[in-house]
Amino acid sequence: MIKSNHFVLLAILIVLLQAVLDNYVAFNASIYLMLTPLILCLMPNRLRGIPMLLAAFFLGLVSDLLGNGILGMSASAMMVLVLVRYPLIRAFTNENSLEKYVYPSPLSMGPARFAGYLLILYFVFLCIYVKWDSAGLVPTSLILGRIVLGTLLNAGIGYFFAWMVVREE
């Protein structure tokens, strides 16, 4: 069971973990391990509109600042993710589950739909992020490869994380 104030703590932990990964763990340049978008993916179902946009914007800025990335890149991609998030929740969750569950999870949507939900959101996020990151240097085929690889990897981690943490009865 996850409570609202716990969610904030969880978000801070994820941001810090992302900062550690960005600063101290060396990955292959084609592998994008992005945990901060997961916070937006797992935010309560009812949240949408301007609060979500602001949350995405500041979360992205903090993430870029702590990760020594190009300022604005994560924020730009996260805001597009937020635009897609609520329509996806509405499409993948029935009315009863929306009333019963606070957070999107394998339980509220069903395992397959939740996996689809994460895959689509990460794909949207990485389309923007990788495009910005590869500006003018990388051929389109490699950009597509990075997006697909990143989507599968991050959605897999996200699914596991959500399955472990978000356990509403």
Partner: protein
């Protein structure tokens, strides 16, 4: 009411999103030269689409002016051509000690067709030039593609032209291959074809031969192209009837030239 609020909410979200994305783009472009270059390139591409559209629109807007300019230029060139042709024709007499070049015989007044008919047996056109512009009846009307007709009635600012596509009127044409001339008239069937009659049976011609104005009438200069021989038939075993495909498309006439013969009165005075 509910719909309005919903629309307003969507509008505010959209504006917020665009504003925050704008801030992000600004931050990205300030912090990395690579992304800045990519951004500028993308913006240039969008700008180019806009520039192309503007250029296209400007070109379309200028078409009318360009067209009028071309008509004036054509008018000047026609007059110049006429003058040069006169000089060339007079070349043979140059040895004569009393050689004097023929003065400028034809002048051209550009006019715009304001009404045109091609579907009747007696077709007429109306032009936007009249008495005030020096137009009077029995002036020829041509284009660079052939003869259009001749002025019939004139008002202060407009004139009525009897079209070449009139079954009762005709002109004289010359086959360029043999310089054989014959009357040309319209048979009332096709707007793109006229008939040339009374071509002697011994005349040599082929399909595709060009027919031009003879210059015998005082209305048109000599040598204006009219059309090409398309078909022929033998008439009573003594002459040929040639079917001429006109160069000019009468259905798309827009600008024409009214021909003014400065010596018409003098020549007609001798004919009387």
């Amino acid at each position: 009411m509910g719909k309005n609020i919903s629309f307003l909410r969507v509008l505010i979200i959209a504006i917020t999103f665009l504003a925050l994305e704008g801030v992000c783009v600004l931050l990205i472009s300030r912090n990395s030269i690579l992304q800045q270059t990519q951004l500028v390139l993308s913006l240039r591409q969008v700008q180019q689409i806009g520039w192309k559209r503007i250029a296209k629109r400007q070109y379309a807007n200028q078409l009318e002016t360009t067209n009028e300019m071309l008509v004036r230029e054509n008018q000047r060139l026609l007059a110049q051509n006429q003058w040069l042709e006169t000089l060339v024709n007079e070349q043979a007499y140059k040895d004569s000690s009393c050689f004097l070049p023929e003065p400028h015989r034809f002048q051209y007044i550009a006019a715009e067709v304001i009404r045109n008919e091609t579907d009747r047996q007696h077709n007429v056109l109306f032009l936007n030039k009249g008495r005030a512009d020096g137009i009077h009846p029995d002036m020829g009307v041509i284009t660079t593609q052939g003869v259009v007709g001749f002025v019939n009635g004139v008002s202060e600012h407009f004139c009525q032209v009897i079209s070449l596509l009139d079954i009762d009127r005709g002109i004289t044409g010359t086959l360029t291959r043999t310089s054989t001339f014959g009357p040309i008239r319209w048979d009332g069937r096709r707007a793109d074809r006229v008939v040339m009659e009374e071509i002697p049976i011994h005349t040599s011609f082929e399909a595709g031969d060009t027919v031009v104005t003879s210059g015998f009438s005082q209305l048109f200069p000599k040598g204006i192209p009219l059309g090409r021989v398309a078909e022929h038939e033998l008439v009573d075993g003594v002459s040929y009837r040639l079917y001429i495909d006109l160069f000019e498309n009468f259905r798309s006439l827009h600008f024409v030239y009214i021909v003014s013969n400065t010596q018409q009165a003098e020549i007609e005075g001798l004919l009387l």
